[in-house]
């Protein structure tokens, strides 16, 4: 039998797939699946090393919206061509675009997400406030001030602060976007010292310092999720996937009190909420691409979504990939965040997410190889500013220098 080695990320949906893949193996007895499940950061390092050195360890890789266009362009991934039964057009256009390069699809989305505002309806109501479905940051700040009550163990707003391009910078990029900023101008010059950045970061630092929980500088998705489920956060802007966790009474003490809104905006709605997908791709070095493609087709198909719905429950299906999912009544009944999520995803456009024109794709990142380390360096400065160790201006200045160094080294300009 052919053995397929699949590298995946350890998110819930992937793990579910791993469990359900026995159905695939039953249907294809000549294919055996071997799983390598890793945490996001490790997975990224791992597959990058492999794909770049043509190591050939994996036949299928789970990669994100960041890597796909870069690698596809370099010819490191096999183009995916599905037969009609796959219904390529059912894929949400934002997803398809984000996973393509020059019109060729290099990875099939397994699940997608955007970001949105999750808040405690009870607290907002008690404070005598309201939350529109498209709030502004100014409004959010007011609400935060009202519901902030640390003596009772409730903090007005929880936001990411841990340094990392996928951590605090994912959120901060959307904030900067909506403030009208961007990472690079058309000459690839980093724009970190521009006014939108200054305003956005100052606002962020101010907001979290006043109404955030202690230790924000080390919080990322998981930390905040824990806080939120314990009822310690009044509001939270983060990945839509969180919605299913915080409204799950098994995990969350406040499951019945959560409500959803679109990510807040400031000067422009562009890029205010991010777009991300975990997708399956086949490295060029794989010798079993036919079988691999077969599996990908199975895993990202509507049938698979239905299978999950039947076997595990409609509240747990991988979302954000296909229009048909959101048209499904079973799903809609099970997921009260469905509408908000779809709206968020639809409103995101990786190709045009900044007020000024940008040379890069990606909403909460810039899809260039240098971005990872720039993201970490900048993220460190932002967390430093958040921790009150340096002023926002200084942090941005240092960040700008770091970004400039990287870009210069990479030869974007002299």
């Amino acid at each position: 039998a052919t053995e397929l080695v699949i590298a995946t990320v350890n998110n819930g949906h992937m793990i579910e797939m791993q469990k359900l893949s026995k159905h695939f193996e039953e249907a294809n007895p000549d294919i055996k699946l071997k799983w390598v499940t890793l945490e996001e950061g490790v997975l990224r390092q791992r597959v990058t090393t492999d794909v770049a050195t043509k190591g050939g360890q994996f036949d299928i890789m789970t990669i994100g919206m960041y890597e796909t266009p870069i690698w596809g362009k370099k010819g490191w991934l096999k183009e995916l061509k599905f037969d009609d039964s796959y219904k390529v057009d059912d894929l949400l256009p934002a997803m398809r675009d984000g996973l393509s390069s020059e019109g060729k699809l290099y990875a099939a989305p397994f699940y997608g997400e955007s970001s949105m505002l999750m808040y405690r309806a009870d607290l907002v109501k008690d404070a005598g406030m309201e939350m529109p479905s498209n709030p502004t940051w100014d409004h959010v700040a007011q609400v935060a001030a009202k519901i902030h009550n640390p003596d009772k163990g409730v903090y007005g707003i929880c936001l990411r602060g841990k340094p990392g391009w996928g951590d605090n910078m994912a959120f901060l990029t959307t904030l900067v976007n909506t403030y009208g900023g961007q990472w690079f101008n058309m000459e690839w010059k980093p724009q970190l010292e521009t006014q939108p950045w200054k305003d956005a970061i100052s606002f962020y630092v101010d907001l979290l310092t006043k109404y955030g929980p202690p230790g924000s500088a080390n919080n990322s998705f998981n930390e905040i999720l824990a806080l939120y489920n314990e009822g310690k956060c009044g509001m939270w802007i983060d990945a839509t996937i969180a919605a299913s966790f915080i409204s799950d009474p098994k995990q969350s003490k406040v499951a019945d009190k959560v409500a959803f809104a679109q990510a807040p905006t400031k000067v422009t709605p562009k890029g205010a909420n991010w777009l991300w997908a975990w997708a399956l791709a086949i490295p060029e070095s794989s010798t079993k691409s036919a079988e691999a493609q077969k599996f990908i087709q199975w895993a990202t198909s509507t049938d698979y979504i239905n299978l999950v719905g039947k076997e595990v429950g409609w509240g747990n299906v991988p979302t954000g990939t296909r229009q048909s999912t959101y048209d499904n009544a079973d799903f809609k009944a099970a997921a009260k965040f469905a509408d908000a999520e779809l709206a968020a995803i639809k409103s995101a456009n990786p190709a045009d997410s900044t007020l000024e024109k940008s040379p890069y794709t990606g909403v909460q990142f810039a899809a260039i190889p240098e971005f990872q380390s720039i993201g970490v360096s900048v993220g460190q400065q932002m967390s430093s500013a958040l921790a009150g160790q340096v002023k926002v201006e200084e942090a941005l200045k240092t960040a700008q220098e770091a970004a400039d160094r990287e870009m210069r080294k990479a030869g974007y300009y002299k």
């Binding site: 990058t48 500088a217 080390n218 380390s373 360096s377 460190q380 967390s383 430093s384 160790q389 160094r405």
Partner: protein, 292 residues
């Protein structure tokens, strides 16, 4: 040191050493040569098409990183503190449990257990369950005593890392000291007692010299390991806030696994080797004579 060579077997010691020396040599030389080579060329995994000899540019790039000197400093602080903490407390604990008492064996197990924890788990354990300012155990203790919980990772990032790493390496020191203490000669202690030595004087004049070799070994081994600590940092603070907890290894990690710039990472690695050598030479001056 006098020669105690087994007469008539001048070759035997060398033969016995050969496997270790040869394998280690191969293990060292091949990657080293490759690393040196990589460090002078342009080599980014993400841009395999861009190649060519660049001289010392990678070194320059690595060293002109504004985080470079702070990272060197942090590396040394981390190293020094953890070594001091583990050696001091390791000795104290080893001495404490050296003589028999009820449950000695069990206590010994409890004490060495933290070493069995994987570095990432260690980091997560401390970050989430111990040091989190909202729901961490330490925060609960602080609150219990009516104190404002400390915001460990934000306010004292490097110190927090030092605590985690020390917690992990303390058992190592304990373990080695424990076994070494057992070979302490009882009659020497008795003789010192007769000479009027108090416990502290025995500690200083007899235990310490006896333990000198073990202490040196612990220090050397820890130094080598601690120079390349990054999993704990990556997992907890990602080197931040700012560069407050960035060390050299993390800086290299950034280049190697976030930028995938093998050239710069190689240069950084070689600089780390240089730093390690400086530290080692310095140490061997101080403690080398204890080795025999």
């Amino acid at each position: 040191m006098a020669e105690h060579t087994r007469a008539g077997s001048r070759w035997l010691p060398r033969i016995l050493m050969t496997p270790a020396v040869v394998t280690l040599f191969l293990w060292m030389i091949v990657p080293l040569v490759m690393t040196i080579y990589f460090s002078v060329i342009r080599y980014n995994l993400m841009q395999p098409d861009q190649t060519g000899f660049v001289g010392l540019m990678n070194y320059e790039f690595f060293m002109t990183d504004p985080d470079f000197w702070p990272a060197v400093w942090n590396t040394l602080v981390l190293l020094g503190s953890v070594v001091l903490i583990t050696v001091f407390f390791g000795l104290a604990i080893a001495l404490l449990i050296n003589d028999p008492f009820p449950g000695q064996g069990f206590v010994r197990i409890l004490l060495i257990s933290p070493f069995f924890v994987m570095p990432t788990v260690n980091a997560l354990l401390w970050k989430h369950m111990m040091m989190n300012p909202v729901y961490g155990v330490l925060a609960q203790i602080w609150t219990f005593f009516g104190l404002e919980p400390v915001n460990w990772l934000t306010d004292y990032p490097l110190f927090s890392i030092i605590i985690m790493v020390s917690w992990q390496w303390l058992p190592f020191a304990c373990l080695i000291f424990m076994t070494a203490l057992q070979s302490m000669d009882r009659e020497q202690l008795e003789a010192a007692g007769m000479d009027g030595a108090t416990y502290w004087q025995k500690l200083w004049y007899l235990y310490m010299p006896h333990m000198a070799r073990s202490i040196s070994v612990v220090i050397m081994i820890e130094v080598i390991f601690l120079l390349s600590i990054f999993a704990e940092i990556y997992t907890t603070t990602s080197g931040g806030p700012g560069n407050a907890s960035t060390n050299l290894a993390f800086l290299i990690f950034k280049q190697a696994q976030l930028s995938f710039d093998v050239g710069v990472a190689s240069a950084g690695a070689l600089l780390a080797v240089v730093l390690a050598n400086i530290v080692a030479v310095f140490l061997i001056r101080m403690i080398g004579k204890n080795l025999d």
